[in-house]
């Protein structure tokens, strides 16, 4: 039955659409017999190919057999001269290259097109061919590729250059032979060919710093036209500057600086960003870069965003350089793009005065709920820096932060706020009560165990010293009743601290502790029983040792010592004093405050320096019989820093031996130190034996 299609019925038309576009892929594939018809109907074949690619893109799956059959059927379509159909064939080859077998059957057709007369086919044919080529085939078509790279038709040259770049991963040695052709292509007038040639040349030469420098000198003098190529040159130049630690009087820096005056905004922005990123930039050097950014603020949103983002970074290191832009930045606070507004406000917070803080905070609070989590973290970090700068403003900040805590947000965001509040509490004793109150309110409804335990720990530390410690006990005990095991255990520890410090609270704490001894989790019960016993002794010394001061030895050291103890059965009980004390862990300096990129690797705790040495020494067989490492000294410089090689010595003390570790570092780049020998001249009367 054939129904009349009512063109005015838009709803029906949409349903027809979806039905067509969602049609069964396998069903479609069986129809590929259409391709075998003579004469070929270009329009129908085109539609089928389009729908195959569309459905693949949507996530529909092909079986290998069906895909291969369809692929073979499609090869017949090369007989048609319809341009669009041929182009779609190339596209289908690329899309199905991974799922179909024997794809190389199309190689000869593609090679024919690549070297044929129709310019419009040559570029896309090259790209399709290179997509299916393997190493052996590549050598067969090498001649054609080299010709294509230096071809006068820009699209052919570009396609060949870009495809060569893709193939570098697979066959670096083969592609390296085409360097001369790429060099010739780089002198083309076409702006995209210049860009692609430069990119390929850099990629082939990037391990040879001398070659890169020569290339850079040549291109910076010859004056390219392509803005993309300029951006590439700027990046190469700044990487070179970074590696050679070149100063700001180097010609590379001059080149980058000259790009600030380029006509194209893309180049100006790239140059300004490069300068701003340089590690040792003074404010004077930054000034032209900053004013370049200032000018960009008036353009399109993307430019505004790019400009304000870079100014934000500059403000972290050189706030004074950015104050010139404050007026323009203030205009951006009300920008409709929230990201721009946030960045503008945080930049102003870094560079503004104390009086403007209230006004700015009010403006942020009006839209903070609309911005993404990454920007919320940026705002919190800016506030944190501000709190350190203007301690008197802590009450305004605290209010704002507590409002943000109540809103929805991810873990990183809440953690940043909690850290900020804790920072304020530690700096400002007056803010302690309000801060602790806000944090208590937060843990009532907090889903992140890490944060809850951290806050409970803080409450245990600071709560007993406040004028009215009892009000915190309710909050803490509620956690014991309501939360998960880790939080309950932390709450028990916090309660114990209250009991230890405040005698009048001790009876109530003991009662609560008794209830905790009935908990379902063994960690909680253990802790409760332990603290109960200690507190019942009512001795200050015991309280101090077991409740206040945590483990003062390093944890990996303890682990090693215990392991050693279990290996050698001994009559004596384990002695904690044999474990080395914890040295301060290496913390990473956070110089850049930035939106947190979502990382899939969880953060690992930085091990202490001593623990690292312990691991290294334990892996050397000669040292394994020495027992646990007691202490390692700081590295001592034995030579001056400017000599050709630098030697440092670290002394490791074991129970009955001393190990001297000499670190010998070569400061020259192109020389290898071989056959390093160590001579010892004992001086004085020491009864040491060299092992």
């Amino acid at each position: 039955m054939i129904k009349k299609f009512d063109k005015k019925d838009e709803d029906r038309s949409d349903k027809t659409f979806d039905a067509l576009w969602k049609s069964n892929l396998i069903f479609l594939l069986t129809q590929s017999r259409i391709f075998n018809e003579t004469p070929i109907n270009p329009r129908r074949c085109l539609h089928i190919l389009t729908k195959i690619i569309y459905l693949l893109n949507q996530g529909e799956h092909f079986g290998t057999t069906e895909a291969t059959e369809a692929f073979f059927a499609m090869t017949r379509l090369f007989q048609s001269n319809d341009q669009t159909l041929r182009r779609m064939c190339y596209l289908t080859i690329k899309e199905m290259a991974n799922i179909s077998e024997d794809v190389i059957i199309v190689t000869s057709s593609l090679t024919k097109d690549m070297t044929g007369k129709e310019d419009v086919y040559r570029g896309p044919a090259i790209r399709a061919l290179c997509r299916i080529t393997d190493t052996t085939m590549l050598q067969a078509i090498e001649r054609y590729m080299k010709q294509a790279i230096v071809d006068k038709v820009p699209s052919v040259s570009s396609s060949a250059l870009v495809s060569s770049l893709h193939m570098v991963k697979m066959s670096y040695d083969v592609v390296k032979r085409w360097v001369n052709e790429a060099q010739e292509a780089a002198s083309s007038d076409n702006i995209m060919v210049q860009y692609h040639a430069l990119g390929l040349l850099y990629h082939l030469r990037k391990n040879d710093r001398l070659a890169v420098t020569k290339m850079l000198n040549k291109f910076t003098k010859s004056g390219l036209k392509s803005p993309f190529a300029y951006c590439m040159l700027i990046r190469i130049a700044s990487k070179l500057l970074d590696e050679t630690e070149g100063g700001h009087d180097s010609p590379l820096f001059d080149f980058i600086e000259s790009c600030l005056r380029n006509k194209n905004e893309m180049v100006v922005y790239e140059a300004a960003s490069a300068i701003v990123h340089m590690p040792n930039c003074t404010a004077r050097e930054l000034a032209p870069a900053v004013s370049g950014h200032n000018m960009l603020i008036y353009y399109l949103t993307a430019l505004r965003y790019a400009a304000v983002r870079t100014l934000n970074k500059v403000a972290m290191k050189h706030p004074s350089a950015v104050t010139a832009c404050n007026l323009d930045l203030e205009n951006l606070i009300t920008d409709s793009n929230r990201s721009i507004a946030t960045l503008a406000i945080t930049t102003l917070l870094k560079t503004g005065s104390e009086s403007s803080v209230d006004r700015l905070m009010k403006q942020i609070s009006s839209f903070v709920s609309e911005i993404s989590d990454e920007f919320k973290v940026v705002v919190v970090q800016a506030i944190s820096a501000l709190c350190q700068k203007y301690p008197r403003k802590h009450s305004v900040m605290m209010n704002f932060l507590s409002n943000m805590l109540r809103d929805d947000g991810g873990f990183e965001y809440k953690r940043a706020i909690v850290d900020c509040i804790i920072g304020i509490i530690e700096e400002n004793p007056e803010s302690k009560e309000t801060g602790l109150a806000h944090l208590c309110e937060f843990i009532e409804d907090c889903e992140h165990t890490v944060l809850a335990t951290k806050i409970l720990h803080l409450l245990g530390k600071e709560g007993p010293r406040t004028p009215q410690p009892s009000k915190y006990i309710r909050f803490i005990f509620n956690r014991v009743v309501l939360e998960s095991e880790a939080v309950r255990a932390a709450a028990v520890s916090a309660l114990a601290k209250f009991g230890a410090q405040n005698d009048d609270l001790l009876p109530s704490v003991l009662v609560l502790m008794q209830r905790c001894m009935m908990d379902s989790d063994d960690e909680v019960r253990d802790r409760a029983t332990f603290y109960m016993n200690v507190l019942q002794q009512k001795q200050k010394a015991l309280n101090a040792a077991y409740i206040f001061n945590g483990l003062s030895v390093s944890v990996p050291g303890l682990e090693k010592s215990l392991h050693q103890y279990t290996l050698e059965p001994s009559e004596r009980p384990f002695d904690l004093k044999s474990v080395p004390l914890a040295s301060a862990p290496i913390t990473e300096q956070k110089t850049e405050l930035a939106p947190v990129a979502s990382s899939k690797i969880p953060e690992k705790l930085a091990p202490s320096r001593q623990d690292i040495y312990q691991e290294q020494l334990a892996s050397i067989t000669e040292f394994q019989g020495l027992g646990p490492l007691f202490k390692s000294s700081e590295p001592v410089q034995l030579t001056e820093a400017e000599t050709e090689y630098v030697v440092r010595c670290i002394k490791h003390t074991f129970a009955g031996h001393m190990v001297f570790q000499f670190d010998c570092t070569n400061t020259l780049n192109d020389q290898l130190l071989q056959k390093v020998r160590w001579e010892e001249r004992p001086c004085g009367v020491h009864s040491w034996n060299t092992v």
Partner: protein, 182 residues
């Protein structure tokens, strides 16, 4: 944000996609093999991006550690994705080229129905602008010249699958229409 600058490379675009105004994917290409390799992750990403961007018509955003530039027209949303260290203006130039070229092909009718009707043109345009993550062409005029596509007089939507593929009556029938295939 980063303290190291980008390694010089031609690989600038990580992904490009076009969504309709319900957030459904119409076309998407991912060029970075480490970025969301599975279909599930891709669709998840697209959904997140859509939720954060379809309300306000701002052009640029930073999500999931990536810079995203976007543009919308009637009932379509166009996105170009790059690394957070990438030059935003470069990404914008890709987006503009894409949008201008498609505008021309769809005869200014940049909306869902027209896009689906001319899907092959859309595929070819994207293929001419970006190849494997490298910006191949940034001038819409050049792109159009290379693609050389004329919009269809008999769009696909007004034909049934059956008519396109000439099935026999035993196979499932979609909506039948009276227009004949030229």
């Amino acid at each position: 944000m980063d303290s190291t600058s980008l390694e010089p490379s031609l690989y600038t675009v990580k992904a490009v996609f076009i969504l309709d105004n319900d957030g459904n994917r119409l076309l998407s290409k991912y060029y970075d093999p480490e970025l969301y390799p599975s279909m599930k992750e891709q669709k998840n990403f697209e959904r997140n991006v859509f939720n954060k961007t379809h309300k306000a018509d701002n052009e640029i955003s930073l999500l999931e550690g990536l810079t995203i530039v976007y543009k919308s027209s009637i009932d379509l949303f166009f996105y170009v994705v790059g690394s957070v260290q990438e030059n935003e203006l470069m990404l914008m130039s890709v987006l503009n080229c894409l949008f201008e070229s498609l505008s021309h092909i769809l005869r200014k009718n940049v909306e869902r129905k027209c896009l689906l009707d001319n899907m092959e043109g859309v595929f070819l345009v994207v293929d001419e602008i970006i190849d494997g993550g490298v910006i191949l062409e940034s001038d819409p005029q050049q792109v159009l010249q290379k693609v050389n596509y004329r919009a269809d007089e008999n769009p696909l939507s007004e034909q049934s699958v059956a008519q396109v593929t000439h099935t026999d009556t035993n196979t499932p029938q979609w909506h039948n229409v009276t227009r004949s295939i030229v």
